[in-house]
Structures are given as C-alpha cells and as structure tokens.
C-alpha cells in the first residue's frame, strides 16, 4: 500500500501536528520505508484468527462506584502553562 503525501497530510491533521512542506517529503520517505517493512504482514494467512488486544486476554475489572479521589485541582494546575481562577486558559475560541 503506497503512501502518498496526502496520507501524511491527513495523519498530521488528525494528530494535530504542524508539518512544513519540507518536512512532509521527509516523512513520506521515512514512513514509506516503515510501511514497506510492515507490509510483510500481508503475506501471512490469518483467516479465522481472532485479534489479540491484550497479552493475557484479560477483561476490564469493575470496582464499586465510590468516590476514591480527593479534589486536587490546585496541585494539578501548578504544572499548567496558563490558568486563571481554576480554569485553563487557551486562545479565544468563540468570537
């Protein structure tokens, strides 16, 4: 499956990653080599094999619906780039 620059552009957009024109061609080259290597998978017959998401085939455990954490907003906001009155600041979204 050949990789086009449009694929890299789409992935960069979905991943919210700024990629310049210069960088895009480098990524097309690197990612194509990686995908060529990955394409070996296509030669293997996996008909009837169930996908494995977790090495121990475990399922999600449930716990009692109880409050276990305390409010630590001030502590957690200490490492934020910009906060005010307990809110995270970002550029204006709604005019």
């Amino acid at each position: 499956m050949a990789l086009e620059e449009s694929h890299v552009r789409r992935a960069a957009h979905l991943a919210r990653l700024a990629v310049s024109d210069d960088q895009a061609s480098g990524f097309v080259e690197d990612l194509s080599r990686i995908l060529d290597m990955v394409d070996q998978l296509q030669s293997l017959d996996t008909e009837g094999v169930k996908p494995l998401a977790h090495p121990l085939d475990a399922t999600q455990r449930l716990r009692a619906d109880e409050v276990t954490e305390s409010n630590q907003r001030d502590t957690f906001q200490r490492c934020a780039p910009a906060v005010e009155n307990g809110l995270y600041l970002v550029p204006r979204v709604v005019e």
Binding site: V19, F27, I34, Q40, L44, V49, P55, C79
Partner: protein, 486 residues
Amino acid sequence: MYEKTLTQLAAALKSGEFSSRELTAHYLQRIEKADGKLNSFISVTAEQALKHAEIADNARAAGTAGPLAGIPLALKDIFCTRDVKTSCGSKMLDNFIAPYNATVVEKLNAAGTISLGKTNMDEFAMGSSNENSYYGPVKNPWDLTAVPGGSSGGSAAAVAAGLIPAAMGTDTGGSIRQPAAFCGITGLKPTYGRVSRFGIIAYASSLDQAGPMARSAEDCAHLLGVIAGHDGRDSTSVTRGVPDYVENLNAPLSGLKIGLPKEYFGDGLDPDVEKAVREAVKVYESLGATVREVSLPHTHYAIPAYYVIAPAEASSNLSRYDGVRFGYRCDNPSDLIDLYTRSRAEGFGEEVKRRILIGTHTLSEGFFDAYYTKAQKVRRLIRQDFLDAFEDVDVLMGPASPTPAFDLGAKKDPVSMYLQDIYTIAVNLAGIPGISVPAGFSNGRPVGLQILGTHFAEAQLLNVAHQFQQATDWHLQRPAFAEEYA
C-alpha cells in the same frame, strides 16, 4: 563501596559496615565526577537523597528498617516522581514537575530505598540507542564511542559504570533487556501486568512493563519483590500473589529443559554473539540442563506487527500533550488549532513524530483493518508460538540482540534501528517475561544472553539466571571507566 552488588550493600548496611548516608554520598560523588562523560542522568536529587538516607539510618537504628532500606537507586525519567522533574527524555515535558508518584516509586519509597535521580532515555521510550533523547545521547561506559542501547540506556550505563547499584527501567519492545546486554548488566522485563503501570508515562499500553536493572539476578530478585503486585490504579495489573523471588534462587537446575529457537540463530547474528550464547548454553548443560532446538515460526512477523501496534497505541496516548494542561506550549499561538499543532511540532522530536504519524495513519479510515486488525491477529499467532514452545521446554535461550553495542551515529535509517530489536520485541507482544544476563564480550563490548519463560515465570527465570552467575563471573566484570573517571 561501588564494587559491591545491591545484595552485598544491603548486607553491609545491615551489619553496620557503613551508613546509608555514607553510601549515598559515595554514589553522589561518583555521579558528579563521572556523569559529565556518560550523560546517564537527567536530574540528580542529591539534597533529597541525603535527607532520605538519614531517615533510613534512623529506621535502622530503631530496628524498623526493611531489608533494602537505605539502598541508593535511580529511576528512568519515565516514572512520575512527586515534586521532581519527570521529562520522559522530551522537550515536551522539560518543564513538567510531576504532582504525584508512580506506584513503583511509592513502593520503593515504602521499602526505604533512596532515589538519587532520574536517568536519561530515548524520548517517550522510543528508540534502541538512547540517541533520541532531548538531553543528548548517553555513552556506553565500556566504550565511549558506542551507544548504551535504549530506551533505558541511562539506567544501564549508570549501573555498568558503578554510578548507582541498580536502576528502574521500562521495556515495551526490549528497552530493559537490550541496554542491559549492551552495558553488561542484568535486566528483567516481567510479565505484562506483574508491575503496576500507574504513573509510568505511557508509550504503548498493551506492551509497557517496568522492571529492575542491576548487576546480578539476585539483585533483580530483591527489587522485583518490592515493585511487583496488584494495584487498583492500574486496571491491567494482575491480582495474582507475589512469590518470594529470592528463596527460589538456589534451586538446582538438573533436568531443566532449555529450548533454543532456531529463528534466533539465523542470518544477521554476529558470530561473536552467537559464540558467547552457545558457550553460555554449555555452562547450563554442565549444570544438568538438557538442550533442544525449538521453532517460533512467526518470529519474522514480530517487528512488522509491533510497528503497527506500538505506534497506534502511542498516537492515542500522546494525544494528551496538547499544550493546555501541562507540558510545553508554543509562544504566541494565533488560535487554538495553532496552539495544538505548533506546541506538538515544537515539543516532540523526529522519532516521536514518525510514530505518531504512522499510528494515526494505520488507525485511520480505510487502513484500520489492513494494518491494525491484521497486526492484532498476527500478535495472537506470535503468542501462540511461545505457548506451544513452553509445552516442550521450561525456558528459551538466545541472544538479547543480534550485535553488541553499535557506534554512536551508526544507524541513521529508522528501519535499520527497528531491526535491532528482532529478539526482544516478540516477548512484549506475547506478554511473557524475559531477562538479559552478561555472557561475554565481543571486541570489548558486552554480549547479553536472553532467557525467556512463560507468563509469571519470573521466579524460575531469576533462578536460572542466578545459577549461571554462580558458575560464571561475566556479571561482575567492570569497565575501566568505573575506576578511571569515577
């Protein structure tokens, strides 16, 4: 003091030969003297360490100290440590002071061990050479022109140089075992779910696992006993009880059935590495083990499957770095999208971006089934290979890496770097434990023997590794660097 293993240091602290404060000061001095050349630490927390050492000494005097109280350790900079910078080797987290401790850190603190600092690593644990760190590459103390391996390269180099008796690492595709092999130390990747991942910065959540890196298997046994166990804060940590990993170390190996996967002795294996591994297997035969060839037929699909699954999980995990709640934020964003895209472009390094893009692409509409679902099916076949092999043999043995440590700057193409992990990566896909132990040298650079067991066979792996270390002294060899510079 630095010549001693962690086990010997614990005995010396207990007998009062020296105090934890003296021991801690000794290692801090070695780090200060030598690490300018190695670059194995990102942060050194000297003041805090000395304070904790005093607490450990007081506990010792009061008779309340546990067996590892007062032992200095280092943590890969992927473990969140409260009030200490936790960078994960990335510019993205260069300003991140963790507000909480990883469970591994809490458990080590409760055991009274002393963290001396945070070790260098490939950015977000993505790499096999430690050249992907925002803080610059780590050097291998056996040869300063060689890489220490990765991604836990700082932990491996620091232990090998005697800057710390042991360190914690993480292993997603070989990141404990390969640097342990390159630096001539012992490194254990436990079964997936054996050690809590809470507070360990996530790379690929179905593969990540933390483990100890030290001089000997005995040292690793002591440390695994501390960090293993169920944690309600990690839904994938297992509830199964933690055995005593130390009491089983001296069990005899007569009748042990060893399998040598023929795929691990094929093309691309360095002849010196093969020779060292085959010599090690002979040592086991002399200890009463029997050896036979086995096959893991899907071995060659492990790297392709990994480079779908790991980047896919990474692209999801790393979406949290958005420049809003923590971490790097670009200057003067024009709008919210500019803030996201530029913070991420400026905060992440090249390899991290490659994996985010690959993962996003393979998960995107039109490609998901062909890549992701396919890779997960192959993952089941790879795990089945191991389960089938363990029907016939107790452990598998082979090289940890196809070559000894390569030169800094030698591997510029990402795919050639990925192929380095051929013998380690399938283990993470299968979720089984593996250990790398020193087994010789090639042109002055260490060679690692990898031993694999079935799920939750850590006690057996440590026993098998320990018996080898009773019969050989590769694990006690030191690079000249340890005396010359430190």
